[in-house]
Amino acid sequence: MAALDSDSDEDLVSYGTGLEPLEEGERPKKPIPLQDQTVRDEKGRYKRFHGAFSGGFSAGYFNTVGSKEGWTPSSFVSSRQNRADKSVLGPEDFMDEEDLSEFGIAPKAIVTTDDFASKTKDRIREKARQLAAATAPIPGATLLDDLITPAKLSVGFELLRKMGWKEGQGIGPRVKRKPRRQKPDPGVKIYGCALPPGGSEGSEEEDDDYVPENVTFAPKDVTPVDFTPKDNVHGLAYKGLDPHQALFGTSGEHFNLFGGGPQGTSNLLGEIGVNKGRKLGISGQAFGVGALEEEDDDIYATETLSKYDTILKDEEPGDGLYGWTAPRQYKSQKEPEKDLRYIGKILDGFSLASKPLSSKKTYPPPELPKDYRPVHYFRPVVAATSENSRLLQVLSESAGKPVPDPGTLSRHQLNASKRGELLGETPVQGSATSVLEFLSQKDKERIKEMKHATDLKAAQLRARSLAQAASSSRPQPSSPDVGHCSWRVASSGGTATTKASNFKPFAKDPEKQKRYEEFLVNMKRGQKDALERCLDPSMTEWERGRERDEFARAALLYVSSHSTLSSRFTHAKEEDDSDQVEVPRDQENDVNDKQSAVKMKMFGKLTRDTFEWHPDKLLCKRFNVPDPYPDSTLVGLPRVKRDKYSVFNFLTLPEATSLPTTQASSEKVPQHQGPEKSRKSSRWDTSKQEKKEDSISEFLSLARSKVGPPKRESSTLVIKEEEHVTESLSNKTVNKDVDSQTEGEGSRPSMDLFKAIFASSSDEKSSSSADEQGDSEDDQAGPGEADFKSSQATDSVETSSVARASEPAPQEPAPSFPIQKLQIDEREAFGPRLPPVFCPNVRQTLEAPQKEKHKKNKEKHKTKKEHRRRKEKKKKHRKHKHKGKQKNKKSEKSSSSESTDSSDSQSDEEGPADLSPQELLKRLKSLPLRRQ
């Protein structure tokens, strides 16, 4: 837009067409309506657009042939007079003027043709590229390389040039041979090994007689045969979309049987200009024809015989194309030309070899004997029995084999010791023919006894089951099997019970199941009256008989189910009705020891736990690491079953790691969940009182030693007090089978647990105090500390609640607060905090500390509520599980006191601002006392 004042016109450069300046009083022009927007050609004719592809040149009259008047041309001009003038009609005579224009198919403008365009360097590169493209896995993948052109020729080129090489020539010694017609067709330049056109073959003889002796020629520029291994999964000889074929049309008319490789290159080296008439478009094998293309005969790459050679002939002797596959006479022909030498300088330090390389000697294959017939016939196989021994002998004699002495064993029937005997070796001590022979006499004896006993047992059982079969009205066809199977049950001993726990045929009726298990146990001991003893004496005779029958069948079924059924089914991942949950087998054990170790800086064994850990197979593969446990399907830490809803899943019980045998027993726990459980006393019952004293004194000493952070300790102590009660209730379920001696004094639950359960009360205290301190000192540091502590607590809450349904993220969007608030909320929730934002260009400004505090309080309330809810749930569950426990009441009391405690702390929080550590300490001291 030109500026209005004329002075500045010189300085300004204006681009584009300026809007016409509006005259005053003139109304702005209306835009041209759509129907008036027409396209006309130079002569003002309407132009019509023909579809999307053609780009819109008009044909005929409004999409028809002819003119407005129809088929008659508008003006008839007789050509009779000037027929003589125009002798030959070119294609131009039939073209429209649009076709001859700049963008038509036959532009008239003068342009440099490819032949004269400066591209000598490009040709070399082109060739290299085509070579690469032919060998590349994806044809045309080298296109990218073309975009990056080197600034100068490579060193190789320079070296070659210095040695006398010129572009367009081949490499090697100069050849004494007749000059070949370099240009068989004036229009087409052929480089390298392009196939000669059919017509020019005969012309070679004519040129023969004009070769001066002393003239040598540069070798032909030949694209070497490349023996590319087939490393793709395409079909044989499949070539993907070759960009040269696709973009410039197919030029390979002729298949060369003798050079698979050069076939591609020959047409590659053919001039692109040959196919210039063709429009560009993508075509190739398995690609369709574009809308512009007319010939569609080539798309499916039909093979015709005419494409192949039918006669063996050397196409072009002397070009070195054949390599090692050359016909013999062709090779020998080359021999006398060995004396040729490089005309170019031989590089310093090199000389021509005086004698040829010695060739490897080849040996002919051995000659076959005259009477050899390449047919194999089989001898009849005759089993060696007494009747046909003669026949055998005859047969073997005919086969030229000596008849084996019936007394001596055949070679294959000998074992190692016997072979040794034959060879005269001294036999190995004990003449071990089987493992049994290595056993001492005593052991053998024992085994024999065992065998005898089990045989006896089996016999007994068989007898019993037979008797059963006789007594029951139903016939049992497989009664001997019953005995056998049940014997197997019995003899498998320890495994039987564990497996029986998996297979519970009478799971619906626990009483019956128990009787059945008793039956199995009795049977295992080999008691004859196993059934009679375990049956309920109060049952009627009919019932008893029925149950006996059932049990026997179940025992049978159990074995078969174990072998057949178990192979078809997998265990349910999540048993809905079982009160068990999978927890890691090994857990990081007691933190207290480690804390003291850390304090003493005794890192190493004391602070380290090592677990078996199974990485996922895929992860190993991705890390390029062999799977350390190739046979296991486990992923992560090995897991065992524990009671669901038990807090102690998340305890770090030392016995879990120290006594691996207890795992098995804890697995079996649910099976035996019976009345005897409540009878067991735990050590918490007895030593509760003194323990309490103990911990208080411990706490006090701790508090004295460092006045600074006593809050957390204290809160855990409070928890510990309570823990004594609760643990006494439920740790029996976990370590019922463990005698109380093994769980030493160190079996204190981890800190995490306490934090998890009672986090709210503790962190309220600490954070509130920290808050207050922070307010007085610094806006930044104060909340930070509090944040961290609270976050630690809330985090561990989360972890402890993993087993439960995953709860929503602790922060909920409070609608009344803007997004900023949310952000704060989240930030204060977890982990070490991120540093504050100092830079001025941040979008969110620093929040007012007051609000933040308020928000925090709110959240704390929430978590507390949650805790209470969970506790109630737990309580309920506990009640449900251990009915009739005398400690139930107590635990209720303690938890209620806990809740009062938490309400206490709530009120604390609203209390006076500056709490000195001493005061806090005092208050804390008073807390457990009050509880007592």
């Binding site: 804390q595 850990w613 961290f788 972890t799 100092f838 941040v842």
Partner: protein, 315 residues
């Protein structure tokens, strides 16, 4: 070779500020070098990730697509892709050249504190405050992680990966090392919440920083304490630590606005490099040269050794 090795020079510490990048993306949560140290990534609190040439101070590309602030990022060994994790609980795999999101892995229940590629950039490991480390497969289209390492009892603050190990520091005060080759998990108790862990470059030791303002150098195989480094202040924030390019010094951020250098063997404080008034939030050490990047507030500083001359003198 024919030439004798040049005499090893004494280690120089980067203490000359050669560049300050004003990142313009809010607070810089983390700054990371790429694999060869020519470029760096800055994670902004305005949901963007930026790629820089730190020596020239040129911004090369901005990667936006996170739904919340970006907390950590890492580059692949071939510089072809990046991964990042942030407050939106997502782990994102980026294409460096196009700046497009290649994959977005969702599954964490909380903020993603730390991300790492494995050696061949086939797996992304991400540590989150949901106390799990998740291993995401970059090769397949599977939306779930290959494996979840959920042994930690509290948020994961730092994850480092070697060719066959995963080193993770957690707020529960433990450093866990998962050895894939041995199929074992080694858990070292440190006590205080871990803020950062890293392997030494020789792979024999692990450096652990925790919220008790202490850095500890532990023997990787036995867990024994090899050295303890104190003097800085780290009590609230998640700050980075690392080792210098030849394992000669231990480097750590501090809340008093300095970067502390300790001699690794002697444990003596070698240098307290004042950076600015705020907290040094993050740092990254060049893999081969004495070059340090520090992040404070919204800017990143590039430090070189005293003798360093900017090549060409261009900015």
């Amino acid at each position: 070779m024919a030439f004798p090795e040049p005499k090893p020079r004494g280690p120089e510490l980067p203490q000359k500020r050669v560049k300050t990048l004003d990142c313009g993306q809010g607070a810089v949560r983390a700054v990371r070098f790429n694999v060869d140290g020519n470029y760096c990534l800055t994670c902004g609190s305005d949901k963007t990730l930026k790629l820089w040439n730190p020596l020239r101070g040129t911004l090369l590309r901005t990667y936006s697509g996170h739904g919340y602030e970006v907390l950590d990022a890492a580059g692949s060994f071939d510089n072809s892709s990046l991964c990042s994790g942030g407050g939106d609980k997502a782990v994102v795999l980026w294409d460096v050249a196009s700046g497009q999101v290649v994959r977005k892995f969702r599954g964490h229940a909380g903020k993603v504190n730390t991300v790492q590629f494995n050696e061949e950039a086939t797996v992304i490991l991400s540590g989150s405050i949901d106390s799990s480390i998740r291993c995401w497969d970059c090769r397949s289209r599977r939306p779930e992680p290959v494996q979840t390492l959920d042994e930690a009892r509290d948020g994961i603050s730092s994850v480092k990966v070697s060719d066959h190990e995963v080193l993770a520091g957690s707020v529960d005060g433990r450093v866990r090392r998962y050895d894939l080759r041995m199929g074992q998990l080694f858990s070292d108790y440190v006590g205080s919440p871990i803020t950062c862990t890293c392997f030494s470059r020789d792979g024999q030791c692990t450096l652990v920083s925790s919220l008790d303002s202490t850095l500890r150098l532990l023997d990787k195989d036995t867990g024994e304490l090899l050295g303890e480094y104190t003097g800085h202040k780290n009590q609230e924030y998640k700050l980075d630590c690392c080792l210098s390019e030849r394992d000669t010094h231990v480097v750590s951020c501090s809340e008093d606005g300095k970067v502390y250098f300790w001699d690794l063997v002697e444990g003596a404080l070698a240098l307290a490099l004042p950076v600015g008034p705020g907290v040094v939030q993050s740092l990254a050490y060049h893999p081969t040269e004495p070059c340090l990047l520090t992040a404070m507030g919204g800017s990143v500083q590039c430090w070189r050794e005293e003798a360093y001359e900017a090549e060409g003198g261009s900015s």
